[in-house]
């Protein structure tokens, strides 16, 4: 079947429903030229996102904050908000370690992460958890590994995020158990939540669960080579 440019673009933007998405995926699998177009779309998207991402990371100028909050509330809320923000930052910076650098400019895609049951990862998510390394994953990976660590029970756990979901999975004999689940990371989120705050939640929770620092690139690679056992 032929895939129109609009349809391919819609696929790249996560706009297609499951059935349509599978059709496009099937067409891409049999057509290297189409795959190339998709890669170009995804690379452009990643590049645009990364270009603007630093602006959203910068501290917001006080004049904008004070345009919103009345004087008295401002004093209290801004300082405490700043404190909270900095705490959160400090809380996850050490845990994320070397893995975080690769995850700072993220583009999240909507991919099938369907689970065989409610408690364990399946599909593209399980594959990513098994094989993908935070340090080397491509910019367009549909599921992004944020970090890997060992929890208090000695299990290997990995924080992940895609456009539609994020969370922490820990490896057990049955596979990757979904320990914590948060919302999607790339979707313009509902209500007031800032896109990306789910990623912060994953990292903060990982830090609470972890027995030590996050695995560095070498530690991650060797854990993967031993099938996370």
């Amino acid at each position: 079947m032929t895939i129109s440019p609009e349809r391919l673009a819609a696929y790249a933007d996560g706009e297609l429903h499951d059935q349509e998405a599978r059709e496009v995926e099937a067409a891409i699998a049999g057509d290297p030229a189409l795959k190339e177009q998709l890669d170009a779309h995804l690379a452009l998207k990643a590049r645009l996102f990364a270009h603007f991402a630093p602006i959203a990371e910068q501290p917001v100028p006080d004049r904008l904050r004070s345009a919103i909050l009345p004087e008295q509330a401002k004093v209290v809320d801004i300082s405490s908000a700043r404190e909270r923000r900095e705490n959160k930052k400090q809380r996850w910076i050490w845990i994320a370690g070397p893995a975080l650098a690769a995850s700072l400019a993220l583009v999240f895609l909507n991919f099938g992460t369907q689970t065989p049951d409610e408690t364990h990862a399946g599909g593209a998510l399980a594959q990513a958890l098994d094989n993908q390394l935070a340090a080397t994953q491509g910019a367009e990976a549909p599921v992004r590994i944020l970090l890997s660590f060992r929890d208090a029970n000695g299990r290997f756990c990995r924080g992940y995020a895609s456009r539609s979901e994020s969370g922490i999975a820990c490896h057990e004999t049955k596979g990757w158990r979904l320990e914590k689940r948060f919302g999607g990371a790339g979707q313009a989120s509902t209500e007031y939540r800032q896109a990306g705050s789910n990623v912060a939640d994953v990292l903060a929770t990982a830090q609470e669960m972890a027995r030590g620092p996050a695995l560095d690139a070498a530690g991650e690679a060797s854990a993967a080579a031993r099938s996370w056992r």
């Binding site: 609009e6 673009a9 452009l44 645009l48 603007f52 904008l64 345009a67 509330a73 313009a188 007031y192």
Partner: protein
């Protein structure tokens, strides 16, 4: 100096007699939480950091003034993005008129983008490529590819049919792919 170390430091902070308002300030908090994203969208629209924060400020002020028009339960972010986008369109129109009237065409590019040569030099490939897009394609690209809105949400923000949004996006994206090279 002899009053030095043991002297009690004078307080520069007047005591706080009034307690901070603890009323539910959901709306303000919502706008506050959106600020980083609004600054990003603003930077994309204006392509100039000084203008970007001015646009943000105007947006915040209008949003607060018109807060009665926001329906609780509906998306605050889309509502405010829409305000920002509309202010920018009005601004850009006014600016075009001014420029058409006053700018010497020989001065070309240096005008309108903040004037400074330095700024022009510092523009990245992406900034330059985005600058070449028609406004309606640029805003579609920004809303979907940077801000992460779905086609439907983006169409609501710019107030056009989804199909129209889609075709602006495809044209804008194709133009960027060409301008930035195949490897993007």
């Amino acid at each position: 100096m002899e009053h030095g170390l043991n002297a009690q430091a004078p307080s520069f902070n007047p005591p706080r007699h009034r307690k901070a308002k603890t009323l539910t300030q959901g709306f303000e908090q919502g706008v506050l939480a959106l600020l980083p994203r609004l600054r990003r969208f603003s930077a994309g629209l204006t392509r100039n950091s000084a203008d970007a924060d001015d646009l943000c400020q105007m947006t915040i002020e209008r949003a607060l003034r018109n807060r009665g028009q926001w329906q609780e339960g509906s998306r605050l972010d889309s509502w405010i993005y829409r305000i920002m986008r509309n202010i920018w369109i009005d601004e850009a129109r006014a600016r075009t008129r001014r420029n058409q009237t006053f700018v010497d065409p020989d001065q070309g590019l240096a005008i309108g983008a903040g004037g400074g040569q330095e700024e022009n030099v510092q523009l990245s490939d992406i900034d330059r490529a985005l600058a070449k897009l028609p406004d309606e394609q640029r805003e579609a690209v920004l809303l979907v590819m940077v801000e992460g809105y779905s086609y439907r949400e983006a169409a609501e923000i710019v107030d056009c049919p989804v199909g129209t949004l889609n075709s602006r996006l495809v044209r804008g994206r194709d133009a960027l792919l060409t301008l930035l090279g195949e490897a993007a």
